[in-house]
């Protein structure tokens, strides 16, 4: 017999609120339904009212883990609109921070996957190593998250010799530890038994449902924006696109670990070939009426910004499609006919960054006729009540 289980919006497995309503029979999921919208902040509408520079601040706060992806994608687009080209040194520093962000995001994901699988020791080890990367980022930019290093026309801070040496030394430690994780993550029997065969997404489904990032690369499709549509300096930097053939969560783990090694290689190349010169050029205040499509490979997949300008100093339209939104349709497909025990793992395997995926209009809405403000919390509770009303009725009978 079937009954419905709600996972979320509040659940220990989820780092951000999202509501997943699953119809289960015993331990097997028959159907899944995804409800979004708990984390809206009205970014696209807000971006139309702020200037180009203020929007860098805004796009950075779309997400914490992939903050640099959003700013870089935005700034790349705006630079094309304003027809300015940032200097080489600025670009090298910008993409150095991109690769550092990719490392820390993948290490975070490895820890989260370990935690969802119950392997807490793995979680503690990978997050200990993530501290090394966070220290590097703090030395470069002053912050552990939200580095604020991009500006239109280049970057805001420069690197000196001591920082470069520190980064290269830390890379050696990280490389050694990542080899240990590669061995552990693929050979530890209970961990592999937990991950193998879970969340199967065939190659055809991955392509048809427009999945992005490591999710689609683990199904054997070599789709990577850095190779397909090279932006910045990626046509000069040598690296490989990492794929796996197993199409399940184990494949996604392997893809991310392989990408860690690619990141180390890219960072070494960037640091050894760092050109001299200025780090930024001056940007004009206004942009001519034009439109641009900017794509970027964030740690979670393809990030796409569509920016349209109308000649003033504010954008006409900023459309952001974060990578996690592209993976939702594939998640529903993966959940069907899986076990309940696998839900957090499947969901974590697409590396959900739900606050990236939600940015529409402000939810703070005054009901017509009433003068009180409904805070975000109250609105969340309200929408939960209305949407969870059905589930509550089902709990009124004994479940078995």
């Amino acid at each position: 017999m079937k009954f419905q289980i709600p996972i979320g919006p509040q659940h220990p497995a989820l780092k951000e609120p999202i509501s997943l309503r699953m119809t289960v029979e015993g331990e097997i999921i028959r159907d899944a339904d995804l409800r979004l919208g708990y984390n809206h902040r009205g970014l696209e509408k807000l971006a139309e009212q702020k200037t180009w520079i203020q929007n860098i601040y805004l796009t950075e706060r779309i997400c914490g883990i992939c903050s640099h992806s959003h700013t870089t994608c935005y700034v790349q687009g705006v630079e094309k609109l304003m027809e300015i080209e940032p200097p080489k040194r600025g670009q090298y520093i910008r993409y150095l921070v991109s690769e550092l962000e990719r490392i820390h995001s993948h290490l975070l994901w490895l820890g989260v996957a370990g935690h969802e699988a119950g392997f807490d020791s793995f979680f503690m080890y990978t997050w200990r190593d993530r501290e090394i990367v966070m220290d590097i980022l703090e030395i470069i930019s002053g912050n552990r998250v939200h580095y604020g290093i991009n500006t239109i026309g280049g970057v805001r801070r420069d690197l000196d010799e001591q920082q470069v040496k520190h980064i290269l030394d830390s890379l050696a430690i990280l490389r050694q530890r990542s080899e240990y994780y590669q061995h552990l993550g693929t050979n530890e029997p209970s961990f592999v038994a937990r991950l193998a065969g879970v969340g199967y997404l065939s190659r055809e489904d991955a392509i048809a449902l427009c999945a992005v990032g490591p999710t689609v690369r683990a199904s054997g499709v070599p789709m990577d924006v850095r190779k397909d549509d090279p932006y910045g300096i990626y046509d000069e930097v040598p690296f490989e696109v990492c794929t796996a053939e197993t199409c399940d969560v184990l494949g996604r783990t392997v893809v991310r670990i392989k990408e860690l090694f690619q990141c180390y290689n890219i960072i070494e190349y960037l640091l050894k070939n760092l050109p001299t010169g200025p780090v930024a050029v001056r940007a004009p205040r206004r942009a001519k009426p034009n439109e641009v499509v900017s794509r970027y490979e964030a740690p979670r997949g393809e990030n796409i910004h569509y920016i349209k300008s109308n000649g003033t100093d504010k954008p006409e339209r900023l459309k952001v499609r974060a990578p996690t939104l592209g993976n939702y349709a594939a998640t529903i497909k993966m959940l069907k006919n899986g076990f309940i025990a696998d839900v957090p793992l499947i969901f974590a395997a697409i590396d959900p960054c739900i606050c990236c995926a939600e940015r529409a209009v402000a939810l703070v809405d005054a009901r017509s006729g009433q003068e009180k403000i409904i805070s975000m919390n109250a609105l969340k509770q309200l929408s939960r009540q209305v949407s969870a009303g059905n589930a509550r009725k089902r709990e009124a009978e004994w479940p078995l």
Partner: protein
């Protein structure tokens, strides 16, 4: 005199007070070992080396608000923790600590107390299931179902593994089994396979990784204990720690030769041998990840049960060779 001794036996050692203090010590030991294996500190500040941390946790939980869900059966919901604790304390009394020597047998040592102890140790599993059932919460019900599913897996290998040394020692009485292995320590090696199987099954009984599916925090919120809070949760946690002590004591008695030496030396023996067993249990916990409930059952029936039967055959062979 005898009543005073019995009262001390029941309340102080190895009764309530000792069990309370020792189970909190064992929880500290487990948490500290787990943390150090993960390159963390573990409990550090409360008391010297964080020794008072589990006691502090217990008292903190006792002071928290105690909520009984609306639709739950109030009496059963509230009675279950107390019943569980009573069961585990009774099981503790059966272990041959203190009143040990065979020429002055205590009232709690009788022929067949091994079976009674095993039975009392399998009751907490039903208590967990009933706790989940009477919570009328979806997650608790799933947790309760998982507890019972796991019971189908590990109970049979555990019984077989623990009964093998008893078969070799020719007795169902814990005190006699321990005495037998102390007189002939070489024969304890015959039961090595059984020891390993019993360690794995005890890990499953105590619901620790890799078998902590019933209260897997990331999947079903709290499992069977989702709705428990305040005093009831404090008593459940104490019950789980005491269950660990009793299970470790059982393994130490049957496989490692018991706790000879009267009051003081017996206490030292008890602490040392149970800590050795718990060391292995913590090691397993820190180095594996959680496996699914169907994988537990298939693992138990494909590997553990045949190996336990093999252990029994070995014991019978050795017994035949000896006589």
């Amino acid at each position: 005199m005898a009543t005073v001794k019995t009262l001390i036996y029941l309340i102080v050692y190895p009764g309530l007070l000792f069990l309370f203090l020792y189970s909190t010590f064992v929880e500290w030991y487990d948490r500290k070992l787990y943390a150090r294996l993960q390159n963390r500190m573990g409990p550090t500040h409360t008391g010297r080396f964080g020794l008072l941390q589990p006691i502090a946790d217990f008292f903190k939980l006792m002071a928290k608000e105690d909520i009984v869900p609306d639709r739950a059966d109030r009496k059963m919901f509230s009675a279950l923790p107390a019943v569980g604790l009573a069961i585990v304390f009774t099981a503790m009394l059966l272990l041959p600590v203190w009143n040990y020597s065979l020429d002055r047998p205590s009232v709690t040592s009788f022929n067949g107390d091994l079976i009674v102890l095993l039975y009392l140790l399998s009751l907490p599993t039903f208590i967990f299931f009933l706790a989940g059932w009477s919570s009328t919460n979806l997650f608790s019900t799933i947790g309760g179902a998982r507890v019972l599913t796991m019971l189908f897996g590990y109970e049979v290998p555990l019984f077989l593994a623990v009964l093998s040394p008893a078969v070799l020692a020719n007795s169902w009485r814990l005190a006699e089994i321990a005495a037998f292995y102390r007189q002939r320590p070489a024969l304890a090696l015959v039961n090595l396979l059984g020891f390993v199987i019993a360690l794995i099954c005890v890990q499953a009984k105590l619901e620790r990784t890799p078998f902590d599916i019933p209260h897997a925090e990331t999947e079903i919120v709290g499992g069977t204990f989702t709705e428990y809070s305040g005093k009831k949760l404090a008593i459940f946690r104490l019950m789980m720690d005491a269950e660990m002590v009793v299970a470790a004591g059982l393994l130490a008695t049957v496989f490692l030769g018991g706790f000879p030496g009267g009051a003081l030396l017996g206490l030292v023996n008890f602490i040392v041998k149970t800590l050795v067993v718990i060391f292995f249990l913590s090691l397993i916990r820190a180095t594996t990840s959680r496996i699914r409930v169907d994988q537990v059952v298939s693992f138990a029936w494909k590997y553990l049960a045949p190996l336990a039967i093999l252990q029994l055959l070995i014991v019978i062979l050795v017994k035949g060779l000896l006589s």
